[in-house]
C-alpha cells in the first residue's frame, strides 16, 4: 500500500477519476497476457495528457517509486507486470489520433491508440499501418513501441521500429524529450531507434509519429499442403532463393491445423505441413510471381494448392492462422507459448530436434511459424492435473529456446523478454554484451525506476519460469485472439 501522501500527490496529478487504489480494481492490472505472473500494484493512474504523465513520473522519481507503463496488456512475456508496490501508468485514456499527413505519409498518435484503428483511420485514402501483431484489434501503439512488435507481414514491411519516425518521451526523471523526426536523419544519436523495443525500461512514450504505407494494388494468398513441415520449409527456402520477398510466409503443422480447424473451420487441407504464402504489389508482378510460387510448391511435393478466390476466402485463411494459438486450447487443457527465432535454413534440423525432445518426455508440441523470417512459435501441450507434467513442459519450452540460440537464433522474435525470459537473455548474450546494454539503461534511468527487474537477467539464483498458457481475460471474453 502506498503512503497516503503519495496517493494524495498522484490524485492531485491525475484527478480523482484518474486514480485507482481499491484492491479489487487493482486486480485488473495485476498481470498482462502472461497470466501466471501476478503482482498487485500500489496504485494505477490513468493520465489523459503528457503533462499528467510527467507529473506522475516526477512523483515516482521524487519518492523513488518504480512505475510500469501499460497499454492493453496483451503482451505475452510479462512486460507489463506491475512492480511490487509501484505505480502502473495506464495509457488507455491517451487514445487520440492527433494528426494525419498524407503528403508526408505519417500520422501522430497517442500511445493508447489501438493498432488496427490506425489502419482504419487512413484506409479511405488507400493507406495502412504495416506492423500487424495478431492482437492488433486490441493492442495499443504504445505497447507495440515498447515491444517492437512485428506480425505476419513484417517479413516484407519491417517491424514497429521501421515505422516509428519520432517519439515524445517522458524520461524516468520526468523530463520531456523528443527523439527522431518525421524528417529523416536528425543530427545526433538514433535514440528513437534504441527506445523502440526497450520494453518500457527507458521511459514512457506519450506521442508517436508513425509512417503509413500505401495499400498494395493486389494481394494474393495461396495455401499449399505438404506431407511434412520440412517440405513446406524447403519451399520457403526456394521461394526466398528465387529472389522473391512475399509479404507473408507461414507454416502450420498437423496439430496446429487440427486445432485451428476445430476453432474456426478454415477448411484447411489435413496435412503434415501447411504453407501459406501471401504476395502483394502491382498486379502484373504478383501474378507472375504467384505462378513461380505454385511451381516451387509442386516441385517440393505439394498435393493440394489453393489460391484464395475472394476477399472472404482470404480472410478465412488468415482467421485460421491467427486463431491457431488460442485454438490449441481445444486440443490440450494447458499449453505454453514460445517465441524463438532460428536462421531459416536450420528449420528442418530444429523441427526434428523439437520432435525428438518432445518424444523423450512424452509431450506433444504444436508448431506455428512465421517461416519467412524463421520465427517459431512452438506450443508445448500438457495437462496440469497430471502431477509433475507442468514442470516437464516448462523445462521443455526452455530447452527449445536454448536450441534456437544454439542454432544461431534468438530467444524472442516478437514477444519480448519481459519477465518471462530474463534468464534466457543471459543464455543468449554474454556478460559484456549485457553490461553494455546497461550503459544505455543507466543513461536513461539511473535509478532503475522504469519497469524495473525486467528484460535483464536477475541474480543467477532465481530460476526463470516461462508461463504455462492461461487465457487472457480479453480472450476468454472473446474480444481478442492472442498470439
Amino acid at each position: 500500500m502506498l503512503h497516503p501522501t503519495i496517493i494524495a500527490e498522484l490524485r492531485e496529478a491525475v484527478g480523482v477519476d484518474g486514480l485507482i487504489t481499491g484492491a479489487s480494481q487493482l486486480q485488473t492490472y495485476e498481470c498482462d497476457g502472461l497470466t501466471n505472473f501476478r503482482v498487485l500494484p500500489g496504485a494505477v493512474v490513468l493520465p489523459r495528457t503528457t503533462e499528467q504523465v510527467q507529473a506522475v513520473v516526477r512523483i515516482c522519481a521524487r519518492h523513488k517509486l518504480p512505475f510500469v507503463s501499460r497499454g492493453a496488456g496483451t503482451g505475452l512475456s510479462g512486460g507489463a507486470l506491475p512492480a511490487e508496490g509501484g505505480v502502473v501508468i495506464s495509457l488507455a485514456r491517451m487514445n487520440r489520433i492527433l494528426e494525419v499527413d498524407y503528403a508526408n505519409h505519417y500520422v501522430i498518435v497517442e500511445p493508447g491508440v489501438i493498432n488496427a484503428h490506425v489502419s482504419q483511420h487512413v484506409a479511405a485514402q488507400g493507406y495502412f499501418y504495416a506492423p500487424d501483431p495478431s492482437s492488433q484489434s486490441v493492442c495499443t501503439i504504445g505497447g507495440n513501441v515498447a515491444e517492437n512488435s512485428g506480425g505476419a507481414h513484417c517479413l516484407k514491411y519491417g517491424f514497429t521500429v521501421t515505422h516509428t519516425l519520432a517519439l515524445e518521451v517522458v524520461l524516468p526523471s520526468g523530463e520531456l524529450v523528443h527523439l527522431g523526426s518525421a524528417a529523416p536523419d536528425s543530427p545526433g544519436y538514433d535514440l528513437a531507434g534504441v527506445f523502440v523495443g526497450s520494453e518500457g525500461t527507458l521511459g514512457v512514450a506519450t506521442k508517436i509519429t508513425l509512417r503509413i504505407v500505401k495499400r498494395p494494388e493486389v494481394v494474393q494468398t495461396l495455401l499449399a499442403a505438404f506431407d511434412t513441415p520440412q517440405a513446406a520449409g524447403q519451399t520457403v527456402s526456394d521461394i526466398i532463393a528465387a529472389g522473391m520477398l512475399p509479404s507473408a510466409l507461414e507454416i502450420m503443422d498437423t496439430l496446429a491445423i487440427e486445432a485451428a480447424e476445430a476453432a474456426v473451420h478454415a477448411h484447411y487441407p489435413k496435412c503434415g505441413g501447411l504453407l501459406l504464402v501471401e504476395l502483394d504489389g502491382q498486379a502484373s508482378e504478383v501474378e507472375a510471381l504467384m505462378r513461380d510460387v505454385r511451381a516451387l510448391a509442386e516441385q517440393n511435393g505439394a498435393w493440394e494448392i489453393r489460391l484464395a478466390q475472394s476477399e472472404q476466402e482470404r480472410a478465412l485463411i488468415w482467421k485460421g492462422r491467427k486463431a491457431a494459438f488460442a485454438a490449441v486450447g481445444r486440443i490440450s487443457p494447458n499449453y505454453i507459448v514460445q517465441d524463438g527465432v532460428i536462421p531459416r535454413t536450420a528449420l528442418p534440423q530444429v523441427l526434428a530436434e523439437i520432435e525428438r525432445m518432445a518424444a523423450v518426455v512424452e509431450l506433444r508440441v504444436a508448431n506455428v511459424f512465421h517461416a519467412g523470417d524463421g520465427n517459431l512459435h512452438p506450443l508445448v501441450l500438457y495437462n496440469r492435473t497430471i502431477e509433475g507434467q507442468e514442470e516437464i513442459a516448462l523445462d521443455l519450452s526452455y530447452r527449445i529456446l536454448h536450441l534456437c540460440v544454439d542454432s544461431g537464433g534468438s530467444i524472442t522474435g516478437e514477444h519480448g523478454v519481459g519477465k518471462e525470459k530474463q534468464q534466457a537473455l543471459g543464455y543468449m548474450f554474454a556478460e559484456p554484451d549485457l553490461a553494455t546494454m546497461q550503459l544505455v539503461r543507466c543513461a536513461f534511468d539511473p535509478e532503475s525506476l522504469a519497469n524495473p527487474d525486467k528484460v535483464f537477467p536477475r541474480p543467477r539464483l532465481c530460476a526463470d519460469r516461462p508461463g504455462p498458457y492461461t487465457p487472457h481475460p480479453l480472450e476468454t471474453a472473446g474480444v481478442a485472439e492472442i498470439f
Binding site: 515491444e147 524528417a183 545526433g188 531507434g193 529472389g243 522473391m244 523470417d373 524463421g374 559484456p432 544505455v440
Partner: protein, 410 residues
Amino acid sequence: MSTAELTLDEGLARLAAIAGQAHARIRGETVEVAPADARETAAILRFAQENGLAVTPAGGGTKTCWGNPVEAQIRLSLERMSAVREHSWQDMTCTVEAGCPWAAMQTQLARHGQTVALDPLWPERATVGGVVAANDSGALRLKYGALRDLIIGMTIVLADGTVAKTGGKVVKNVAGYDLHKLMTGSFGTLGVITEVNFRLHPAEERTQTWTANAGDAAEFAEPLRALLDSQMVPSAVQLRVGKDGCALDVRVAGRGEAIEDCARRLSKIFSEIGMVPSSEAVWGARQELYDAANATILKASMLPAEVCPVSAELRHWATTEGAGVQCVAYPFGLMTLALQAAPPAAFLVQLRARLRPTGGSVVVLAASDEMRAGLDVWGCDADALGLMREIKRRFDPNRILNPGRFVGNI
C-alpha cells in the same frame, strides 16, 4: 603523441607490441596502428584510455571531414579487418568485418545474386564500418529503408576494452536493446565497430531508369506526389537541380512485364512534362557533387513534401545571388547541396530556420576551414542533447573516442 607521460616513440613501441611491428607507424604527430581483430582493438583502446590518448577509428578515410575536426593521438585503422566472414546466402544474411570496402563486400555477395541494399558514397574506398558510423545512404533508401534497418547485429569494442555483441544473425529479433541502432551514425564516438551483420536483398537484375526534365522543381511537385501516392514501388527516385534546369529520375526493378507496366503508369503521371528512358549513370549524381573540387557540401533533411518547394526556393536564391548551387534530393526528404563558393553566413541560418519548424535540419559536411570555424556544422537543437551527452559519458567517460567530433561537441 606528446602527452606529459609518453613520447611518440614510446607510444609507437607500446602499440607495436599489441599489433605487431609491421602494423604500427608514426605519421606526423599520430601513431597509426592496425589491429588484426577485436581483441587487439580492445588492447589498443585500453592502452589509450590508461594514457588519456584520443583515438580516431579509420576506414577508407573518405568522410574524415564530416563533423568537427578531431585531434587524435592514435589513428586506429581497420584495414586488416576486411573480410566477409560469413555469407549465409540461403538465410540472406552476412557478417562482414568493419574494414571491408563496401564494393568488395558487394562483389562477394553478388556471387549469389544478393546485396546489402544501400548505395553509399565512394563504394570502392569507403568501408563498411565507415559507412555505418557515418550513416550514409543513397537513393535506394526509398525502397529498402535506412541503413539501420538493414543491420541485424554488430560487434563493438568500447573505450574500456569491452568487446560486446549486439543483435544477432537473424532478421527478426527483439532480445535486449538494439545497440546497433545507437552505433549507426554515432561517428565513432561510442565505440569501435569491428563487425557488422546485415540482412540482404536479392540484387536488382533488370532495371530501367526514366528521366523527366523541367525548368523549375516546382513543376515536379504534383507528379512526384502522385507517384509516391501511387501503388508503384520504384527502387529509386531523385530530383536533380542545377543552373540549367531540373530533372527527375525514376528507377524501377522487376521483370519485363512489370517494367512495361511501370512505363505506362509513369507516362500517365508525367503526361504533361514527359518522361523518357535514360541511363543508369544519372544515379551517380550525388557522388558527382562530392567530387567537385572545393565545393561546400550540405546535407539537408526535410519532410518529403518539402523537397520540390525547397529545391525551387534554392534555385531562385542562386539565380538572384548569382551563386552556383546544385542539389540532388531524394523524395524521402534528404537533399545534398553543393555550393561552388562558400555561402554567406546568413544562408545557413536561413536554411535552418526554413526547415526546423517541420523537424528538418542542415549539416555541413564539406567546407573550407574558415567557414567551419565560424559555425556549428551539426546544427543539432534537439532537447535530447543532454541525454546524448549522458550516453557518451557512460560509454566513454574519458572522452578518448573521436572527442568533439559529434553533435554538441560530444
